[in-house]
Every structure is written in C-alpha cells, then in structure tokens.
C-alpha cells in the first residue's frame, strides 16, 4: 500500500477576521487555510484514482448498450480465456442472498439480473492484470438482449398498459402511489387554494422544464479493494458517506460489517453524485474472488453512467395575487424523472413538494410532487436536491406576477417574503431568522456593472475585448445585437436530512501532550469532498480546547457514522458533534485539573473555566494551569454521537409535519449580455447575498457561495445531459459535449454575507452549500428574459431558444 491517507496537521494560517475573542489562533471565525489547498493546486494531492498496490488487478465494468431489455444470454467464455484475466463475474456469481443495494429502496442490482433498465447499467465485471486487458476482455463478453418498450416520461410511465420498470414492488411507498411506475408521491394541502383563488385579481400559470444536470465532479469514481486475511476486505474509496456505503456493501458481499473496513481516500468533488454506490461493491467482489487487490477507476465517459444525475423535471404552477400585490394562493404539480432506480428520489420528492412555494407567505396551497420510474438514467442527489427545480419555476412565476401587476419584481417579492415565524405549507414554523427581504435589498442596492465593458477594456479605443462579449474568444460579435438584461431571484433550501430521519453524527476527540504541547486529535467518518470540513473541525477543536495543534485523523469506519456530506449539513451536524465531543473532553480536563490543582486556587471551584492558548483560564482571564501540566501523560479520548432537533415525516395525504431541521436563504441579481441575433449569453455579474448564521471560516463560506452560484449558472446556460427520447440513451457523455463553465464564462460574483444566528444550531451557524445553487439559475433566466422579452420556460437555455431558429 503506497498511498494510505495520512493524518493531516491543519495549519493555523493567517487570521483575516476575528469574531471571537479567543487568544487561541486559528479558531472559529478565522479564515484558516485548507490543509489540502496547496496540494490540490500544485497537483500533488493523492486522489482515490492515484492509489496503487503491489500485485493489484484492475477492474472493468461492462455496461448495457440498450436502455430496456431482457437479457437472453451472457457468454463470458472468450473473456475468461483471455490471457491476464483473473475473474469475470455476472449476477450468477454474486455470493450472498442479498443481490441489490440502494440508499432507501434496495432496488438496484449489483449486476443486472435478467433485465437491464437503463443505458449503461452494469452487467458484468472483469479483473485483469492490466486495465487495457480488462477493457478488451469485457468487450469480448457477448450479451444477447431482447428489447422491451421504453418508459421515458409520465405519459408512457402511467399509461394503462405501461410496462412496469420494477415488477413486484414491496417498498414502503407502493401503498400510496397511484401507479407502480411512480416511486413516491407527496401532496401538500393547506388552506383552500380554490377558495382563495376567488380573491385573486390576477392569476398566472406556467409550465416549466428543467434539464438533466450532472454533478461533473472532476475526480471520476475510483477506489481500491484489498482482501484481508480474516476473509474481509479493506476498501479505500472516494465517497460522500462511508457508513451508508458500508450498510449497502456488506450484505451483498455476505460479510458482517466489521469485516468490511472502509477508509476515505482523496475525493475530487461530489455534489451529491457520490451518495450512491458506484464501483465499491464491484471492486470488493473482484478482490474477494481473486484474493488480490483490485482497483477500479472510471474514465470520464463511464463516469457519466457511473453516478446518478439531477432529476430533470416538468413543473406546472398557478399563482394568484391581489391588486396590491399580495399572493393569494399557489397550486403546483412537479413531476421528477427518477430514471430506472429509486436512489434518493423519495427524499427529492419530499423536498420539491415542501419547498415548492419558496420563501414566500402563501397560506392556501395545493401541491403535488411525484418521481417517476423510467428507463432514463437514474437520478438522485445533487446540490439543491429538489429545491432547485422548484425555485426555477416559482421565481419565473414571481416575475410574471410582478409584470402583470406592473410592479417592480424585487418589491413584489419583498412584499410577500417570509420571515421568522412564517408558517410553511407543511405547517412548520420557521423559528429562526429568515431575512428574505433584506437579502433581496442587498443585491438590488449594489451598483450595476459598467455598460459596454468590451469597449472600456480596449486600449485607446482601437480594439474590442471580445472576452467581455457573448461568444467570448469565438469572436462572434463586437457589440452587434448585444442587449443587457437584469434579473433577480431568491430561494429557500432545507439543511440536513428531513422527514424524521435519524440524522446524527459521531466525533471522537482525543487530547494529550506530545513533546510538551497539548495536541487534539479529531477522528470522524466525515467525507471531506472539498467542502472544507477538515479545516472547520480543526478550528472548532482549537476554539473549544484552547490548543494550537490539531490533528485530523483519516476518515474511516473505525469510528461511528458522520452521516452524509450533503444537504448542507456537515458543518452543522459533524461540526456539532466535534464541538460536543470537545466539550466533553474539556469537562474531563477540568475535572482532572480540579483533582490535581483544585486546592491551590479557589477559582477552580467557583469560576467559569475555559481552555485558551494551551492553558486553563478563568472567564476573567486569569491563568490557572498549563494544559500540559494538567494532562501530563494522560490522554483523554471520547467518542460521542450528536443529534440536531428531531424532525417528523410529512403526512402522506396533507403533507403536514415539522419535516425540516433548518432553512437556508440566498438571493441573486444576475446581469447578462445577450447576443440576441446569435442567441449567445455572457453572464457579466452574479451578485449574491446569503445569511450564513455564523461564518465559521469566512473564506470557505465565500468559496461555497461562489461555487454554488456558478453551478447554478451552468444549468442556466449550458449544462445538460441530453437523453435521446427515442432510445433513452445518453447522447453527450463527455466534456466535449457536456459543457461546464470555464473561467471566461464565470462572472464576477460579489457576495454579501449576513450572520444572523440560528439559536438552535452550533455557534448559530446555518448550512450554506446549496442555497446559492437555487437562486442563481432563475436569476440568470430572469435576466435573459429581461434582455430578450422571451418567455423561456426551460433551462438550460440554448442558442436556438433565443433566436427561434
């Protein structure tokens, strides 16, 4: 094993802003630098795909070439006979009774069983001594398919004679869905929308379409499985939630969980796309079969088939408002395409429905969200998780209403903005700050970027800087046809796992003296996927334990679950767990101190004691003892689980229930230049304002907001997986044709951060990672509509939508 993840010592860095009066450097509120930052920028960071083991084999997956078919036969003989091939496995070779996996519903076969349900479904796996040998051997496996009718949309899924994507469903949603090709349905009924509609002076309706976005993380799926002497397996993998993987991997291997030891390896981004199992089980199966270490690395092409995508959606909305601009009611129907397997679809439905009204006060609502089973690519978690699709639609509606009422779109939103104490459609009260109107004010009050910057950039007026124009370096306009547009949007996202899920995290914190210095070690199973959790954990430990040196232990399954690095929850929940364990360690330290030194100073018994700068001090600042003297050669080591406030399931008929943990808000103003003749768009500026409760690391907060903003912009103007409706096959599984914004497409992103504490959360913090992804997309769309006068009910916008050509 050459590259086991190493413990990281997190540098304290240079404090840029101190909001906590702690003399311990590098505590919360400071922009301490990421331990992985320099390594990633210089190309030295070891990603999961960089792992190597002596004598290892390479695994390869053979995937279906058709979207829906019975498997008539599989012939692996030629592949097996290939020199250098150690194993070929199909469904028939699976070792355990359990042959499926899944986040909530175990409907996904480890290898296809008699049938494939989507293009790119794994059918067979091969291990060989060289990746190219494995690839060629896989290509020699002969599979005979008998194609089945395709289910590709709601009409084909729910037709009276529709083929069932999954026959014999026995999951806990089947009892309440209207058709077996619907994974889950969540209605929310509050008040009387029909009655309230009678009070409306204006009513607007719209049908909206949201395209399939990919997480497009840069580090493709990869990992290394090493068989161990006790018959178990060590798995090094890039994932978002080690323990969730573990719970799905062990049963299909036929092993108890303690024999599957998982360690997080370098993760190159996630955005939801690593919540589901990809190569984990396949690598373990091949390693256990061959008795050799097996590495699997997807290439970019395979990665597009190796993880779930954002649900594409069709949304129908109706809103009403009175003459004076007050919303009367909202009705909506959201149809999410979950693709062939359930993945996170039920939870995405819960989010889409419960957040469908957005950050507005609407008392009378009639809401329905469903997710379909189809033969399209499976869809699941992605940053924004159901709330993104809804926000795109309700924000378009807000602009339509404002236009119809001849009101300013920002003022109209502010007039209807929710605030602390507002009841959401689920009946849940928002019991922490909800500065929706203020966030809109902040983005609106910024000065607009200068006009015609392509002229200003040229020297002495002799040249046009095409980089400031739509089309950029492609040199398509020097100003001709270019029209500026401005648009606004605001969004509402939940934080943490909802609907009664036991969303806990675990942290083990150890404190000891090494070389005369007190050192804290933080051990969690938290997946660091780029969000900066390891930085924040060290900051929390410094603040709570008053030490300068903090070691972050590699994340593995030798400590309890940290839950998922998703739902904007990790700083809240695992951060909360680290804080909680640190507090327990601190109590032990003080107990030890009192035992040793209590008689020397009365303050040990009477004062509020803190750990600061390596010392025990009173709240008055008096030093009582060095931590090194208190601890001596004793180590304090505590592992504790920590939970946020519990939530409840939504009622299956009315959608009522305190389903969410916390809410998160962001607003955007987009300024775009549109070449109206060619239909090309340049986003000039995307100003964002967000309430973060408390910025534990202001630099990381900025990074999250800017990154989320850009990911939202991507699906406004370019990012889309295109699935052929006739074949249900993916047409653009490459970065040649799945376009991500480049730095030249990236607008300036000025950010206003509010820190209004949520009293229920650790340090008052609010989960931040997703909210900016919501409002960015509709703000860009609103700006393009503003520039072109077109209705644009679909995202992403393509040039032909703007030119009518």
């Amino acid at each position: 094993m050459t590259t086991p993840p190493k413990a990281q010592t997190v540098p304290a860095g240079t404090p840029t802003k101190i909001t906590q009066g702690s003399p311990t450097k590098g505590g919360i509120g400071e922009s301490t630098l990421r331990p992985d930052g320099t390594l990633k920028v210089t190309g030295e960071f070891a990603y999961s795909s960089d792992m190597w083991h002596e004598d290892m084999l390479w695994g390869q997956t053979l995937r279906s070439t058709v979207a829906h078919a019975e498997i008539v036969s599989i012939d692996t003989s030629e592949a097996l006979a290939t020199s250098g091939v150690y194993a070929v496995m199909t469904y028939d070779d699976l070792p355990a009774e359990m042959k499926n996996y899944g986040l909530e519903i175990q409907d996904t076969p480890v290898l296809a069983h008699g049938k494939v349900r989507h293009h790119g479904e794994p059918v067979a796996i091969v291990a060989a001594d060289h990746p190219e040998t494995a690839r060629r051997a896989a290509a020699k496996i002969k599979i005979e398919y008998r194609e089945l009718p395709l289910i590709t949309d709601e009409a084909s899924a729910t037709a009276p004679d529709a083929v069932l994507v999954h026959e014999g469903r026995d999951d806990h949603h089947i009892g309440h869905v209207p058709h077996p090709n619907i994974v889950h349905r969540q209605p929310i009924i509050r008040g009387d929308a029909d009655e309230a509609a009678k009070r409306a002076d204006v009513i607007v309706t719209g049908d909206y379409t949201f395209g399939m976005q990919d997480q497009a993380f840069l580090g493709p799926e990869s990992g290394l499985a090493v068989p161990s002497e006790d018959g178990g397996v060590e798995l090094y993998v890039a994932t978002q939630w080690l323990h969730s993987d573990l719970g799905q991997i062990a049963p299909v291997l036929g092993l108890p969980e303690e024999k599957v030891r998982m360690t997080l390896s370098g993760v190159g981004g996630a955005f939801g796309g690593r919540e589901d199992i990809s190569m984990q089980i396949h690598a373990c199966l091949l390693a256990l079969r061959t008795g050799k270490p097996v590495k699997i690395v997807y290439n970019r092409f395979e990665s597009f088939f190796g993880h779930v995508h954002r649900h594409p959606a069709k949304l129908h909305y109706e809103h009403g408002a009175t003459k004076d601009g007050k919303l009367t009611h909202m009705k909506c129907r959201i149809v999410l395409d979950g693709g062939a397997y359930a993945s996170a679809s039920p939870a995405v439905v819960g989010n889409a429905s419960s957040l469908s009204v957005g950050p507005y006060v609407v008392e009378d609502v009639d809401i329905e969200a469903i997710a379909l089973y189809t033969n399209n690519p499976p869809c699941g978690a992605m940053r924004g998780f159901g709330a993104v699709q809804a926000c795109f639609a309700y924000e378009a509606q807000m602009d339509k209403l404002a236009a119809k009422l001849d009101m300013d779109p920002v003022e109209f939103r502010q007039l209807n903005a929710m605030e602390q104490g507002t009841l959401l459609p689920t009946g849940q009260s928002c019991d922490s700050p909800a500065p929706v109107a203020e966030l809109l004010r902040l983005v609106k009050s910024r000065p607009l970027p200068p006009e015609q910057q392509w002229l200003a950039a040229g020297s002495e007026g002799t040249s046009v800087d095409v980089r400031a124009l739509p089309g950029g370096l492609s040199n398509t306009t020097h100003g001709e046809g270019v029209v500026r547009g401005v648009g606004y949007a605001v969004g509402l996202k939940n934080v943490g796992f909802s609907e009664g899920f036991d969303d806990y995290s675990t942290a083990r914190v150890r404190m000891e003296v090494i070389n005369g210095e007190p050192v804290a070690t933080v051990h969690t199973a938290m997946a660091e996927v780029g969000q900066g959790g390891v930085t924040v954990h060290a900051q929390i430990a410094r603040t709570e334990l008053g030490v300068n040196q903090v070691t972050i232990h590699p994340a593995d399954t030798r400590v309890g679950s940290a839950g998922s690095t998703s739902a904007s929850r990790q700083t809240y929940v695992t951060g909360g767990a680290v804080k909680n364990s640190c507090e327990a360690v601190r109590e032990k330290v003080l107990e030890l101190g009192r035992t040793k030194f209590g008689t020397y100073h009365p303050a040990w018994a009477t004062a509020e004691l803190l750990l600061e700068g390596g010392k025990v001090v009173t709240d008055g600042g008096e030093v009582l003892a060095d931590l090194a003297d208190v601890l001596e050669d004793e180590a304090i080591d505590i592992e504790l689980e920590w939970r946020h406030r519990p939530t409840e399931a939504f009622d299956l008929r009315t959608g009522q229930g305190n389903g969410h943990v916390q809410y998160s808000f962001a607003a955007h103003r987009a300024v775009v230049e549109v070449d109206t003749e060619l239909g090309l768009v340049k986003v000039i500026e995307l100003a964002c304002a967000q309430d973060v409760g408390k910025a534990l690391n202001p630099l990381s907060v900025l990074g999250q907001i800017q990154g989320g903003t850009l990911q939202g912009m991507g699906v406004a103007v370019m990012e889309e997986i295109i699935v052929d409706p006739k074949t249900a096959k993916v047409r653009n599984p490459s970065f040649t044709d799945y376009l991500l914004p480049t730095i030249l497409d990236t607008p300036t992103i000025p950010v206003d951060v509010l820190e209004l504490a949520d009293e229920n959360a650790p340090y008052g913090l609010r989960g931040i990672g997703e909210a900016p992804t919501l409002s960015s997309t509709p703000a860009v769309l609103a700006a393009i509509r503003n520039a072109t006068g077109l209705e644009l009910n679909r995202t992403p916008v393509r040039p032909e939508h703007l030119t009518g050509a």
Binding site: T476, R731, D737, L744, E800
Partner: protein, 296 residues
C-alpha cells in the same frame, strides 16, 4: 500497435510507404482522443515529433509556408500580420495547453468539418504540400476536402506544410459555440478580403459534410463590389448587399441536427456571422479606425 519513430522526413516518408495504414501523430490532440475512446486502433502510429522542420515556418513574398506541426500558439504569436484569419481561428482552438500542441497539419489530416482552421484556410486560399516517396504535390485547398473526415491524400502521403497566401487585406473569423471559450464549433465562418484581386473568399465550418466555401455568396459579393465601385470608392457596403451575402452564405450550408445544435440554427448563425464579419473587414478596408481584430 506499433509505434514508428522516424528521425527524419525521408524516414517518415519511407515508413508511410511501407505502412500506408499508419496514422501520423504530431501534437496528438486529435489522434490520442480517438485512441483513448477506442474509436480507432491503428496498426501503426507514425510519430512525427522528431522531425523539427515540421514545426518551422517561412514567410515568403506571396505566401507563408507553414510547417504541418507549427502549433496554434505560434501562429497566434508570430503570424498575426501575415495570417490574421488563421491567427483568429487559432485563438478559438480548445485551451492554451492544446494550442501549444496542436497544429494545422492535424486539422487537415483529420479533415473534420468542425476543425477550427478550415474556414480560415479556405478564405485565405492555400495549397497543401503533400509528399510521398513518389514525390511532392501541392493540393489546392478547394480540392482537399473530399467527404466527411476524408481528404485528398493518397495512403502513402504525408502533409509536410501548407502554403497560405499572405493577407493582402483584412480577414476575420467567427465561431459559434455554447460556451465562451474552449468549445467545439457549432458552426464557424471565415472571410478574407483580397484587394489585389478584388475578390472576397469565405469558408464555412461545421455546417456541411466538409468545410466549404460560400461560392454563390462570394460570386454575388464580388460582382456587387465591382459594379458599385466599392473597392475604389471605399463606400459603406449597402445593407441590401450585406443581407444578400448573408443569405447566400446561409444557403451554402448543408448542416445536420446534432447534440450541439440544430441545422436550422446553423444556417441562421452562419448568415449572421457572414454579415458581421463582412462588416468588420470592410470597415477595416475602408480604414475607418478600429482594427476590429478582437482580442486574439
């Protein structure tokens, strides 16, 4: 797969004669993608990287002899005055890393309709210097593209250089992609004014099975400019002429619907680019001030 590494041009020609199926590789920005995706698995790869002269260029009286492997970044840096259209096209090629590796020889060898250099080469007018052990010939660019990803090379021939007519007037290049940089063409348009011959030449990319010239548009414009005495009087081209030129350029397209764009959009966009690039080059010809060369 055998990897042939000739040390000289003569050795390369001999190798190609011996193994006519050998695929030449220089920058590898196209061939390696094809191999990595397993779209092709040639029996032989013929590595041209040891042949230094392929990365050199000579500026002559009439034309530039551009070595097949001269990277796009060099064209942008050193040949903007002589080959302004190709320099602009080079700037739209992929990323800086790719521009440091890829060259015009690769674009011609692959002959994809989406190759960024083609419209600029067609508009500037050039000849491809093809050579084999049998000898050298100059293939006019108009006769070079023979079908989708097919060209006029014989199996034993290699591209040694391209003889591109030096600019005698303004040239422009535009490309539509759905991203502001690093994007494959949805369609592209090149234009070159040739005041010496009082002609205008054009090139269209990604809007037909091969790169093509908008011949009817050129003929119309050449006649209209002659008739109106525009070359002499330097007057603004009338909107009616520009519009007709754009419509004819659009009509020269024979595009398809694909994942990157619709045929209808491609025709539309080529027309817009034709009208705009004609305006930019004509303004420059009239000496109205701005160079309008973009940021390339």
């Amino acid at each position: 797969m055998d990897f042939l590494r000739p040390a000289s041009w003569e050795e390369a020609l001999a190798a190609k004669a011996e193994h006519p199926t050998a695929v030449p590789i220089a920058g590898g920005t196209d061939v390696m993608v094809e191999i990595n995706f397993d779209h092709r698995r040639p029996e032989y790869l013929l590595d041209l990287n040891r042949i230094g002269e392929l990365s050199e260029w000579e500026v002559g009286q009439e034309s530039v002899r551009l070595g097949a492997s001269v990277p796009y970044s060099s064209i942008m840096e050193h040949l903007r005055a002589e080959l302004p259209g190709l320099a602009l096209a080079s700037h739209t090629v992929a990323s800086p890393q790719i521009r440091n590796r890829g060259g015009v020889g690769g674009n011609l060898g692959t002959a994809s309709p989406a190759g960024d250099a083609h419209p600029a080469l067609l508009a500037a007018d050039c000849e491809v210097e093809a050579e084999s052990v049998r000898g050298t010939r100059l293939i006019p660019i108009d006769a070079f593209y023979t079908g989708v990803k097919r060209n006029a090379l014989e199996p034993d021939e290699l591209i040694r250089a391209v003889h591109i007519r030096k600019a005698d007037g303004p040239q422009q290049y535009s490309k539509v992609g759905t991203r502001n940089a690093m994007v494959i063409a949805v369609c592209a348009f090149g234009i070159a004014l040739h005041p010496e011959t009082r002609t205008v030449r054009t090139g269209i990319g990604s809007a037909a099975p091969t790169p093509v010239r908008a011949k009817a548009a050129e003929d119309f414009l050449n006649a209209a400019l002659e008739e109106g005495g525009f070359w002499e009087n330097g007057k603004i081209i009338t909107p009616a002429i520009a519009k007709q030129f754009a419509a004819l350029a659009s009509g020269a397209c024979n595009p398809i619907d694909d994942v990157r764009g619709t045929a209808k959009y491609r025709r539309h966009a080529v027309g817009i680019m034709a009208r705009r690039t004609l305006g930019w080059t004509w303004e420059q010809y009239r000496g109205a001030g701005r160079t309008l060369e973009g940021a390339a």
